[in-house]
């Protein structure tokens, strides 16, 4: 009985931590989903750009010992800029129907960003200022990371803001119009390139926040986390349902909790296998993800 | 030869087809007309198995088609063209026709290996004929996307014919054509009839329909409001009603 209770507590704790941390996956997922929704394309350079933003934010904090919140702001803004650059270099001039070329270009972009980071830091992990490092509350047997709560909170806020922008502002209308019928949208006088680059920037903004939050939550920034983040982000996007923002959020949190649960009960070697298995289960029983949006683009 | 028994097709609340009955006889040119949204294209998609009907059954030469996927229906002899042309744009004209050789006869005559990897005299001859039929002889090696609109229509028709169908479904083949082209199309359709191909023609262009068809069915809101030979249809009030009504909301 004792052990049983203990296990319950521990598992709850594990899931809870994972859930909070999942909010970073969620933001990355939203980024992918936004871009996919807008262009029906996959931007492989996305997570890379996000982390690059965090590096710049870090540099700022190192040279001007800026407050953490400024670091976050800079990360977000730079990564938004990166998003814009990625659009201009990897998508803008490639024929819209040619998804393969755009995909490949963004892969090249990923390599490029990755290597620039390495060149700047010698690939050495960098200390990233943590938020409320000591804010660790212990409630009974449970422990709660204050910073993750904050991360979670920021995740929610930025999502709400995003949803507002998408559904209440003219810009958002334009974006969604382009997403649904780009030709028609152009006929209505919407500048598709402008809209797309704005979408990329918004996605980049979110990515920057996600990157900075991840870095802050881990406490170290290194290029080795880019690929895992990309993969997790993609899995989250698909589980959530392509183009669905609420789906990405819920999927992100879910995957976070799910993987931590299996880390606890099955160990590190099998954790990711279960995440992948989860994805397969979704593909079999719910191919369009949590929030089915039947986008027949590819 | 083709019997459509009380077919219904519902998309959510929308009743695209509503208990429709049709019977097309061997060798006929059967016209289906009706205002936009009256379910004509849905009908074609149901016949060649792209949509699964909500209710009802389609039989072809006495055997039911329900449950058969599109490509098998083709092998029983049902081919089609599309309202908005769907060629394989980055394949050459020749390849477009080559791909279409899937009829039962082909499978009988050629070993499957040869069908996939060989290029026999017969194949060449047949494809030459198709090129001739669509007067594209001298464009055989160009990409389908480089053809003009009219030529693309002709190629698509030829591609459908190349599958050696017994029943051919034409979905608004005259859309966007000028007088001469329509006259040309008219003669093609007749020549196909002479080859013994039964044809279901869905069309807005009245001169074509009235000229070429033997029987006409008129659809409105997914159900048949009239059927008969062209003269009868032209006299029918219900039809005029439907069309006038249609032209008013337009």
């Amino acid at each position: 009985m004792e052990d049983f209770l203990y296990e319950v507590v521990e598992i709850t704790q594990a899931i809870w931590d994972g859930l909070l941390f999942g909010s970073t996956y969620a933001l990355i997922g939203i980024g992918f989903t936004l871009i996919f929704g807008a262009m029906g394309k996959l931007n492989m350079a996305y997570a890379g750009a996000a982390i690059a933003g965090s590096y710049v934010g870090l540099a700022v904090s190192m040279f001007f010992d800026a407050p953490i919140i400024l670091v976050f702001a800079v990360s977000a803004l730079v990564s938004a800029l990166m998003g814009y650059i990625v659009y201009q270099t990897c998508f803008r001039f490639i024929p819209t129907h040619n998804h393969l070329a755009a995909l490949m270009a963004s892969v090249g972009g990923l390599f490029l960003i990755d290597e620039v980071i390495v060149l700047a830091t010698r690939g050495s992990p960098m200390n990233f200022p943590a938020l409320f490092e000591d804010a660790y509350f212990e409630i009974g047997p449970f422990g709660i990371r204050g910073d993750l709560i904050f991360v979670f909170f920021i995740g929610l806020v930025s999502t709400v803001v995003l949803l507002y922008v998408l559904f209440k502002t003219r810009l958002g209308m334009a974006t969604r119009a382009v997403a649904q019928q780009d030709v028609a949208a152009q006929l209505c006088g919407i500048n598709i390139h402008r809209t797309n680059s704005i979408t990329f920037s918004i996605a980049g903004l979110l990515g920057g926040i996600a990157g900075a939050m991840t870095a802050a939550a881990v406490g170290v920034l290194s290029p080795v986390i880019i690929l895992p983040l990309t993969i997790k982000g993609l899995i989250v996007t698909v589980i959530g349902g392509l183009g669905s923002i609420p789906g990405a959020i819920i999927a992100g949190l879910f995957v976070g909790g799910f993987e931590n649960f299996f880390l606890y009960v099955r160990g590190i070697d099998e954790r990711d296998m279960y995440v992948v298995a989860l994805l397969f289960i979704f593909l079999v029983f719910r191919p369009n993800g949590l929030f089915s949006k039947t986008i027949n683009r590819d | 030869m083709l019997k459509i028994k009380s077919i219904s097709k519902h998309f959510g609340g929308v009743k695209a087809l509503n208990g429709l009955d049709l019977e097309v006889g061997e060798g006929d040119i059967f016209g289906v007309i009706g205002p936009n949204g009256s379910g004509k294209s849905t009908l074609i998609n149901v016949i060649c198995g792209i949509y699964r009907p909500t209710k009802g059954d389609v039989t072809f030469h006495g055997q039911t088609l329900s449950g058969k996927p599109t490509h098998q229906r083709l092998k029983t002899g049902i081919a089609r063209t599309f309202q908005n042309i769907r060629l394989f744009p980055n394949l050459t004209v020749w390849q477009n026709l080559w791909v279409a050789r899937n009829s039962v006869e082909d499978i009988k005559t050629e070993s499957s290996f040869y069908r996939w990897f060989g290029k026999s005299i017969i194949v060449k001859k047949e494809i030459e004929e198709m090129l001739e039929f669509s007067n594209l002889e001298n464009r055989a090696d160009e990409l389908a996307s480089s053809l003009a609109f009219g030529e693309q229509r002709r190629l698509e028709l030829a591609r459908a014919v190349a599958t050696k169908p017994r029943l051919l479904l034409l979905d608004e083949p005259a859309a966007g054509m000028n007088k001469d082209e329509i006259r040309d199309l008219d003669s093609r359709i007749r020549s196909l009839q002479l080859q013994g191909i039964t044809i279901i023609l869905i069309e807005h262009v009245m001169e074509l329909v009235m000229g070429v068809t033997d029987r006409i069915a008129v659809l409105n809101f997914g159900s048949k409001i009239a059927e008969g030979n062209p003269q009868e249809i032209q006299k029918n009030e219900a039809v005029q009603e439907a069309y006038l009504g249609y032209s008013e909301d337009d």
Binding site: R122, R266, I268 | -
Partner: protein, 424 residues
């Protein structure tokens, strides 16, 4: 065609260009070629090793160079330091290039144990075995630290510390230095062969051997001999390990916290070691002792998590404790590198090459190249001890495993500080 032919032409031209031009120097010289990771996350390894190797060679030359077989003194020359990017295919390509297109007498590389494993695999296994068509090129490695690599080929040599003795001595000393430390537990990164194997096969066993009590998940078969209970340990402690690219360590840290041990082992490269130690700090896990993996005794750890790493003790093959070491350290840092466990080996290797060359009577002529390489290999194999930066390097001829002096360093006020030198 224009584009295409240009492309082809360019690629061939560039390939040609990329082959080190060794004819530029007048007069005979002793040529060596190095390689290591100069791109990708492990870039720092390659950069540091290159700086160390080049400055050591410069030192040797300023002291007159090396004595060749004909008695003349010739300068030693690093004809290139290639980027193997920690990728098997690239390391093998460089090895073959060095062997077949350059007249380097020895190849000095490379970063990443997994890559060494592949690279040594293409070498001839036994020197006298003529039926074996493997590459015949002596390789002197500085960072291939994973246990058991030496046996793959007789052409491969490693100047790496023997982690078995290292940790054996370390825990022996800790036993006496910290008598109040009794229990221990720890975690590692399972996707990095070196970290994980060293941890599960050596470190834990050595700790048990010296009377520390494992309080992690129960492993009856554990210790005290190397590899004893390794598989059981790997199976039992699955959920207190992590991966190099992980971002969330809460579960592992909490598990380890619950075990409430006096000593915690963090057997992992800086990337994840930092993440984990930060999580420990956050969850207020304050062990009496923190022991790390040799590879983490580097500048990266300080960049990554100076404050969280405070107090971690790591055995390492290098520290500026002797005059030579101090001198080398300052020279290398001027050359833009850090001298650490691995790069110091690169420095020592330069001198090892000098010694072997002088022993082997190298002619250094194109026509004698193959013979020179063979002689060099034999000479290198016959060297059983050599003066290193902080003490004698020895090599067991039968197993090919190296032994080198080591010291225990600790992060004190954000700096690596030597806390004990077992040889003194």
């Amino acid at each position: 065609m224009k584009h295409l032919s240009k492309l082809m032409g360019a690629s061939l031209l560039l390939i040609a260009l990329s082959i080190p031009q060794s004819a530029i120097y007048a007069g005979p010289s002793l040529k060596v070629l190095g390689w290591g990771a100069k791109s990708g996350p492990l870039k720092s390894f390659g950069v540091n090793s290159e700086a160390a190797l080049r400055s050591a060679v410069a030192e040797i030359n300023s002291a007159g160079g090396v004595r060749m077989g004909d008695g003349s003194m010739a300068p030693m020359e690093v004809i290139g330091y290639e980027d193997s990017a920690c990728k098997k295919d690239e390391a093998i390509a460089i090895l073959r290039k060095t062997a077949s297109t350059t007249d380097a007498i020895v190849g000095m590389g490379t970063t990443c144990s997994g890559v060494c494993q592949a690279m040594f695999g293409v070498l001839q296994k036994k020197v006298e075995d003529t039926s074996d068509s493997g590459v015949q090129m002596p390789i002197l490695a500085d960072t291939c630290i994973r246990p058991g690599l030496a046996k793959i080929s007789e052409w491969s040599f490693r100047n790496v510390p023997n982690e078995i003795t290292m940790y054996d001595e370390l825990f022996k000393w800790l036993r006496t230095a910290y008598p109040n430390v009794k229990t221990f537990t720890g975690g590692s990164e399972t996707d990095q062969g070196h970290s994980f194997i060293t941890y599960t096969a050596i470190i834990v066993q050595m700790a048990v051997k010296h009377g520390f009590e494992w309080v992690g998940p129960a492993v009856p078969a554990l210790g005290p001999k190397v590899k004893q209970g390794m598989k059981e340990l790997q199976a039992a402690a699955k959920s207190q390990h992590w991966l190099m690219g992980d971002t969330n360590y809460t579960v592992q840290a909490r598990k380890i916290k619950k075990q409430n041990a006096d000593m915690i082992l963090v057997a992992s490269h800086p990337f994840s070691a930092c993440g984990f130690m930060k999580e420990m700090k956050r969850q207020r896990i304050k062990p009496k002792l923190l022991v790390g993996l040799t590879s983490s005794a580097s500048q990266e750890t300080l960049n990554g998590c100076m404050s969280a790493a405070e107090g971690i003790i790591i055995p390492t093959g290098f520290a500026p404790i002797t005059p030579e070491a101090k001198k080398a350290n300052s020279i290398v840092s001027k050359a833009g590198g850090f001298l650490d466990l691995h790069s110091s080996a690169a420095w020592e290797n330069a001198y090892l090459v000098k010694r072997a060359v002088e022993r082997a009577a190298i002619m250094g002529r194109p026509d004698t190249l193959q013979q020179d390489r063979r002689n060099f290999r034999n000479a290198l194999a016959s060297i059983s001890s050599q003066k290193g930066l902080i003490g004698p390097l020895t090599r067991d001829g039968s197993t090919g495993e190296a032994e080198k002096p080591y010291v225990y360093v600790q992060v004190v006020n954000g700096k690596w500080k030597v806390i004990h030198d077992p040889n003194s």
